[in-house]
């Protein structure tokens, strides 16, 4: 299941980060969701990408993730996927994104002295960009994808809510990745901890954080993609 971008990234100017922003947007739009991993479940590429994400995140902000976190791979179908969603969807306290990744993103922005409002002021970032709206000093992110334009087989109706929740939860990582590049345009994408995470999803490995030091990489069973 793929989505269509709301705009063509190649025709837009994102200031000094243009090249990396275009790459992230195009690659994220190219993600085929909820399909078996590329290369099959035996492929370790997705696991390596996730480990690269953990290493980069820990290197930047040690408290963001546990460097020695256990990463377990799990394969299954929609029932198993939904069970994992249910487990992480309404956390009582610790939440991977809000407790780990978003503080990492904030730490990076602050260290770079980057603020969304300044980035969208027209000085370093075109005011008519397709990513942000301004409201006084505040910034509102525009949706990147068009609603209702999914291509490919949809999830089974009984699992659609979990699937779409998971995808929107993953979209947050795309926005973090973009902000990382906007805050540090000269940084290579491989140095961006969120980029490795996005590529992990793209490979067909779907991360779930069961706790600060316990992750599951879920893979759908089925015919592997080439």
């Amino acid at each position: 299941m793929k989505r269509a971008l709301r705009f063509d990234p190649t025709g837009c100017d994102y200031g000094p980060a243009s090249a990396s922003v275009r790459t992230v947007l195009n690659e994220w739009a190219g993600v085929d969701w909820f399909v078996p991993p590329r290369g099959g479940r035996a492929s370790v590429h997705g696991v390596r990408l996730f480990e690269r994400h953990l290493t980069a995140a820990h290197a930047y902000k040690s408290g963001a993730v546990d460097r020695n976190a256990e990463v377990q791979t799990v394969a299954g179908g929609w029932q198993r996927f939904s069970a994992l969603c249910e487990r992480v969807r309404n956390p009582q306290s610790w939440d991977w994104k809000y407790s780990g990744l978003k503080p990492l993103s904030l730490a990076h922005s602050e260290a770079r002295g980057w603020r969304r409002s300044e980035a969208a002021s027209g000085r370093t970032f075109p005011a008519d960009n397709p990513l942000f709206l301004r409201h006084n000093d505040a910034i509102i992110w525009m949706p990147v994808f068009r609603d209702g334009d999914d291509e490919g087989a949809p999830p089974p109706p009984e699992h659609a809510s979990d699937a779409l929740w998971y995808r929107s939860y993953a979209d947050m990582d795309c926005y973090e990745c973009l902000e990382w590049q906007l805050a540090e345009p000269a940084a290579p994408l491989v140095a961006n901890p969120f980029y490795a995470l996005l590529r992990c999803y793209a490979e067909g490995w779907y991360p779930f954080a069961l706790g600060p030091a316990s992750f599951v990489l879920f893979a759908f069973v089925g015919r592997p993609r080439l």
Partner: protein
């Protein structure tokens, strides 16, 4: 709780239009101006017609969204405010409570843009007076929950 389903008007198209209108208006224009000529919702009548639960219109929202709405309401001093002020309060609250917190344009309702959380779909949109709290379903339907400041 019975929650009304108000059909959203082609969310993807409307979002694009809202963005275009916002761009045209410039940085400091109150967002309410977007819907100056749009039909206003009369909240009392709308709430009755829609069957809103008067006792707890926000039952079922996750704790994070509830906390955000509560603090935004406090920032407004418990008084009705125009949508621009309500949006400012919402954005300030999100930034205060969530690291790297951000809000998203979720679509467009009858009276203007819907701005809120990408994950939960909960946001605010101009109402008859002040801001109306709504939820955008993943299938694009809009549910009115109640006024931000009751």
């Amino acid at each position: 709780m019975l929650v009304p389903h108000v059909p959203a008007v082609a969310p993807n198209v409307e979002a694009r239009r809202a963005r275009e209108r916002l761009s045209d208006l410039g940085a400091n224009t109150p967002l309410l101006a977007l819907s100056a000529n749009a039909p206003r919702i009369t909240l009392g009548a709308n709430a009755q017609a829609a069957g809103l639960c008067a006792s707890d219109p926000f039952a079922g929202l996750n704790p994070r969204d509830l906390r955000i709405l509560e603090l935004a309401r406090q920032k407004l001093g418990g008084h009705d405010a125009d949508f621009g002020k309500a949006l400012q309060a919402l954005i300030e609250t999100v930034v205060e409570l969530i690291p790297a917190g951000r809000v998203y344009l979720l679509g467009a309702g009858a009276n203007g843009p819907i701005i809120g959380s990408l994950v939960s779909g909960v946001g605010i949109t101009p109402g008859g007076r002040g801001a109306l709290v709504v939820r955008v379903d993943r299938d694009g339907r809009l549910m009115a929950l109640g006024p931000l400041v009751p």
